[in-house]
């Protein structure tokens, strides 16, 4: 019985998460905040949602590879 309650609880929470996600997606970023929103997503270590930072990290990764080639021991 506790396992059924656990599964139901998780399902309720998943529905809550999906519901809030859908509501949040319906409400777009307010006008005038788009630039600030994109700037904020430029996290160097974060690979979430394929942000611009991922592409810039690719460049850094290539730089690191080039550097490793230069200093090959």
């Amino acid at each position: 019985m506790p396992i059924v309650i656990a599964i139901i609880t998780v399902i309720i929470l998943v529905v809550l998460y999906v519901g809030t996600g859908m509501l949040n997606d319906k409400v777009g970023v307010p006008k005038g905040c788009e630039k600030a929103y994109l700037e904020a997503q430029e996290c160097e270590t974060c690979s979430a949602s394929g942000s611009a930072s991922c592409h810039s990290n690719d460049g850094k990764f290539q730089d690191a590879l080039e550097f490793m080639k230069e200093v090959k021991l």
Partner: protein
């Protein structure tokens, strides 16, 4: 006195970033611009406080009586993710300026392990609600203190003549380790 001790302890001695190594992703990823760091810190304070205020009663009054405390990690992840989305939605609707300053960082916080870490520590420690909230406040302030100090150092380091091999993340890691050593020196103040 207990509450003050918890606040100082979570703020300085058991700092969530430098002593517990939680929230390191945003610590290294966002700490390149002071404006971003301040916004991120405010968002983290709000989200950690809200999540601690919600997850403690959920554990105590739902999961514990039903005997399903073993799902606390997955339950808290879902609750925190839903809470962050809800907070973002409310901030978007209520105030454009607040969204610009704080709300834009909320998507990054949904996956921040510092928030989950505080919620899990609160229930694992079996402390009263008031102490859980003070611990959450201290942890969030500790996060802000460390990330702002770290950003200030990184901005100075960008202007410094560091060797090519150490530029960027390597020198940031060395800086963070030195900061952690400095914070270890505070261990005896309580």
């Amino acid at each position: 006195m207990d509450l003050l001790a918890i606040l100082i302890s979570s703020l300085l001695i058991n700092n969530i970033i430098l002593m517990q190594f939680l929230g390191l992703c945003s610590f290294f990823g966002v700490s390149t611009k002071m404006k971003s760091v301040v916004g991120m810190s405010l968002a983290v304070i709000v989200v950690i406080l809200l999540s601690a205020a919600i997850t403690w009663p959920i554990y105590r009054f739902v999961l514990d009586p039903l005997g399903i405390t073993y799902i606390n990690t997955i339950a808290f992840i879902l609750v925190i993710a839903a809470l962050v989305q809800l907070t973002e939605l409310v901030v978007k609707k209520v105030s454009k300026s607040l969204y610009k300053a704080l709300g834009v960082y909320l998507p990054l916080i949904a996956t921040n392990c510092a928030v989950l870490g505080v919620a899990l520590t609160n229930v694992a420690s079996d402390i009263p609600y008031s102490e859980a909230l003070v611990y959450a406040l201290g942890s969030a302030l500790g996060y802000s203190l460390v990330i702002i100090a770290f950003a200030a150092i990184r901005i100075k380091l960008n202007a410094a003549n560091t060797p090519k091999a150490l530029k960027g993340i390597p020198i940031a890691l060395i800086t963070a380790s030195l900061m952690a050593l400095a914070f270890m020196g505070l261990a005896g103040i309580i």
